[in-house]
Amino acid sequence: MDMSSINLTLKIWRQANSDALGGLETYNLDGIHTDMSFLEMLDVLNEKLTKEGKDPVAFDHDCREGICGMCGAVVNGVAHGPEKETTLCQLHMRHFKSGDTLVIEPFRSRAFPVRKDLLVDRSALDRIIQAGGYVSVNTGGAPDANGLPIASQQAELAMDAAACIGCGACVASCPNGAAMLFTSAKISQLALLPQGQVERKQRALAMVAQMDVEGFGNCTNARECEAVCPKGISIRNIARLNREYLKAVLSEG
């Protein structure tokens, strides 16, 4: 066997639609090139299934370069697979061995209904953003870039938080299905910058309220989220969210 090609057994969650009862199906896939990405491996499987006249596996994807947040599945129990700080699209098959069995399941949470196979509805995260993850600029032209000085430390921390691509792996890996890491990143990126100050308290209250309404679980500081986050978002942001929320709830409205 060629060193750069592997044979795999895949067990993939197949589910026709949100109401259907799903289950794991087994596929044997031979001759997978180790330079392929995980999604390309799934492309090969889908091509094979299509030629056999079967329904291809539905999965989300877009940029395939780790920046859009569309892709994601749970591989052998780990969201985005075994590589640290790597999205599923940037995970390469060289990290697997010939003969491996890969169990591939959708990102699960009470707030993420499965639409089809590996494709889940993550619009709950969008609604958390809509509740307050923005700054309102109702008038005037774009301000001068240097008009608003920001300390470099502050800018760095805000940028670290802004690296979140909204993939939902934190929710999928959390034993409680909590969305704290996502929400904390979205709140931090604005709370750390001068532009975010005016709506700071309202934002914390509204986004946490929306998070709770969507049916995400309660954080128990299990830290699984930061361990699988493809962008290395730290739970230091969750500590900041807790502070932001406490300040807001004690002094606002």
């Binding site: 749970v74 052998n76 034993p175 679980g217 309660n218 699988v228 406490l246």
Partner: protein, 215 residues
């Protein structure tokens, strides 16, 4: 109302857990300090206990507050446990924990319940013991029983595990997380539980083995 909104929110409930946990932690500090006098001699311990109970009003107020704190901590803890269980049962065919040493965080409700069982036994054994027998004698008698003392030691092991996640978790919930101090906090999260284990389990061991019987 802001207070209701706070208490019904996910972060609010978490903060209630952390605040009651902090108060329980502070209680443990005073309880450990008082009980450690038994290592000096049963006489010193007895005079500590007599002094404490010569202020019945203070004892009453403190006992009732402590009861309330326990009820809040246990009540909200079990409520959260139940809410989270609804989300998390059999989500995946394969589930892997990526975080190493997650035993303590995974077993919080169970170690907590074991501590609760211990509390019931402990309060019936000591708080409601016959007032005619000096407390230092009751301690010797009860902990002189091998299985009674063993149960105590197991309960303190559960407390150790509970706090080896709880102490750090409490600070994280209060928003204390900074790279400069995280190493230090991690160390405290080992040192404090170990300290409690050494004192409390030490007392049980002291009488279980008969070492303390004649002092």
């Amino acid at each position: 109302m802001w207070f209701v909104r706070f208490l019904t929110s996910s972060i609010g409930k978490k903060l209630v857990m952390a605040s009651s946990g902090l108060l329980l932690f502070l209680f443990l500090c005073t309880h450990a300090a008082g009980n450690a006098t038994i290592f000096m001699s049963s006489k010193v311990f007895q005079s500590y206990a007599d002094e404490l109970h010569s202020h019945p009003l203070i004892v009453l107020v403190f006992s009732l507050s402590l009861l309330a704190i326990f009820l809040v901590h246990i009540g909200v803890g079990l409520y959260l446990f139940n809410e989270n269980r609804a989300v998390s049962t059999s989500r995946y065919a394969v589930s892997t924990r990526v975080v190493k040493n997650s035993l303590a965080s995974q077993t919080m409700p169970y170690t907590g319940l074991f501590i609760l069982l211990f509390l019931v036994v402990h309060i019936f054994g000591f708080t409601f013991s016959p007032k005619t027998v000096p407390i230092s004698v009751t301690v010797k008698e009860l902990l002189g029983n091998f299985f009674y003392a063993l149960f105590y030691i197991l309960a303190f092991a559960a407390l150790f595990l509970h706090l080896s996640h709880g102490f750090w978790s409490m600070l994280q919930t209060f928003g204390v997380n900074h790279p400069r101090y995280n190493e230090f906090i991690a160390r405290l999260t080992l040192v404090f539980p170990l300290f409690f284990f050494a004192i409390f389990a030490g007392i049980a061991f002291y009488f279980m083995t008969g070492l303390g019987a004649n002092y």
